[in-house]
Subunit: 348 residues, 2 copies
């Protein structure tokens, strides 16, 4: 294994640039909640391969080539999951459509995209109802992970904590198939929380703290959670979390959580990545950009895209070359074992 030219694996990308027909279909579906007779059929949504190709080639793939990243773990647009809308059937149909589009993208660009599934979660509905979609995505679509929404209510936080047995049916399947979950909320429908500026980061912090309070990984020693957006507030407050664990008589965080919890690098400035790589053990950091996502502009302080996180990872003084290989490639292959298998099958 050479460290000289790692594969650059971006573990956090969403299909934010899907053809407009997708959003139109969703809007019809939402409108039909009040007028069931107008519910659109799945077959009404027609998106050609050419349209898919163009939506990717002009956007994500163009930027991947510009920035020099090779593979993106690609899931449906997070803010569009909107699990709070409608009932399980609504979520189920919507998840199936969105996952299938990501699958088609992964077939059109097998060297560059591999899928991760959104789940058809719905507030108050047993998570085990998500299992058929999960299994279809893993077995038929070759997806290598899932996105798990700890708050399908969209900012009202009405589900039990992630450590509750409520979620165990999902965890059992994750362990069975050896797929990690990125813990990722969707749009906030609570006016207090801006979706990408508050709700996402709060959810990251909340999920970590739920795990810290509990002992989930005693029940599931091989369960793996990826906490996106650099772990929310967690690395910045690492001392606080170490201290809280100590007061709760939990083991050191390394032992208590870091065999199971990983952080991505979606932190959009150099000092943030410097802190992340200083504080969090390198084994627990996976490269990601969430491109094209929440923050699309160019930073006037640097002249580069805020979400061009590869630059920050390359520039941080806290990683050796071997460690950079881990962040860009090695850790992703270890955490996403099915991605590793696929890459090996491709001779990578």
């Amino acid at each position: 294994m050479s460290f000289n030219k790692p594969l650059i694996i971006d573990v956090h990308g969403h299909y934010t640039t899907a053809p407009k027909a997708l959003e139109n279909w969703r809007n019809q579906q939402i409108a039909a909640l009040k007028q069931p007779a107008s519910m659109p059929k799945v077959a009404d949504l027609q998106i050609s391969d050419d349209e898919l190709r163009e939506s990717i080639e002009l956007n994500q793939l163009a930027k991947m080539k510009e920035r020099g990243s090779d593979i993106t773990i690609f899931s449906p647009r997070a803010s569009f999951m909107a699990h709070h809308i409608g009932d399980f059937q609504v979520s189920s149909t919507w998840a199936a459509i969105c996952n299938e589009l990501c699958y088609r993208v992964s077939q059109l660009f097998p060297e560059h995209f591999i899928g991760a599934a959104m789940l058809p979660q719905s507030p108050g509905v047993d998570p085990k109802t998500c299992i058929p979609e999960l299994e279809k995505c893993v077995k038929e679509y070759g997806f290598v992970g899932i996105n798990l929404n700890p708050d399908p209510s969209g900012g009202h936080w009405t589900s039990p904590p992630l450590t509750d047995r409520h979620w165990y049916p999902i965890y059992e399947k994750m362990v069975e198939h050896d797929i990690p979950a990125m813990v990722h909320v969707s749009t906030s429908c609570n006016n207090c929380f801006h979706t990408t500026g508050a709700h996402y980061l709060n959810a990251d912090t909340t999920a970590f703290m739920q795990c810290l309070q509990g002992d989930l990984f005693k029940d599931f020693p091989t369960l793996k959670f990826l906490i996106p957006h650099g772990g929310g507030a967690v690395p910045y407050h690492w001392g606080r979390f170490r201290g809280l664990a100590q007061e709760m008589k939990k083991p050191l965080l390394q032992e208590h959580l870091l065999n199971n919890i990983f952080f991505d690098t979606c932190v959009y400035h150099q000092p943030g990545i410097d802190l992340l790589t200083k504080v969090i053990p390198v084994d627990n950091i996976l490269f990601a950009s969430e491109m094209i996502g929440a923050v699309r502009g160019i930073d006037p302080e640097t002249g580069h895209y805020y979400d061009d996180t590869k630059r920050y990872v390359l520039a941080t003084p806290h990683l050796s070359e071997a460690q950079r290989y881990q962040v860009f490639e090695g850790n992703a292959r270890r955490v996403f074992s099915r991605l590793d298998a696929r890459l090996k099958a491709q001779g990578k």
Copy 2:
């Protein structure tokens, strides 16, 4: 003004060590919500000056002397505010009791403690009902700030964002008296959010993002918010917030928010303070420890208390001596103008 030996002003301390009688009284009050006949009277709570003195001398004051800090802006225990319990009358009685105790502490130790008020907030109740307590604390007790809870529901976030006119009656009084508000939630009664490990940090991030989305400081150019716990996730994600502001066509954060928003130094490890002081302009950073608070232990990695934040501020490479003076003293005197007046009256 000499920079050589600044006053060390800790802008964030709560009376977490009040005599047990206080908690007992509160428990009776809560129990009486179901049995109104057993509602305790205010006069039932008897705490002597000697008890107050001991609770401070053995705890906060002892640690202040050990660590070399001079003055603490002292407010009632944040997690005990519990604005979600009972109605306005319950909160009103409780706030009056808690504020009076902080006032008595400030009278017993006028060189070391000065008060900041908790407000008698209650979910769904107009914030203007808090004004009599606020004015009593400022005019009679000489308090220099308030703690404003953006979520009196305790983790259900049922109030409007801080930018909503709902809150304006409070802001008008803050401006009139030139007192800042520390934006500080209380106990979470939502099982998803650990109080000090998630809810506090989430609220900090949320409050900042609410202000970023809005234009509150156009209406109140002299309004001042202190965001505690180092600003939640904000400094770590400063690039994200700069980028979101840019996408929303807001001015640069310096102009949009940093004349009005300040961060404390309650970040319990060196890398966190290093990031804070690297990223946030020094004019916007105020020394604080929240001692004795959420994290009471000794960090095995350093041998010092996690919340001994003075050490981190002294050790960060990002502050000159003049800038350290600002963080320890100058900024607090500027933001808390009534504290400055008091100190001047004391010849400081």
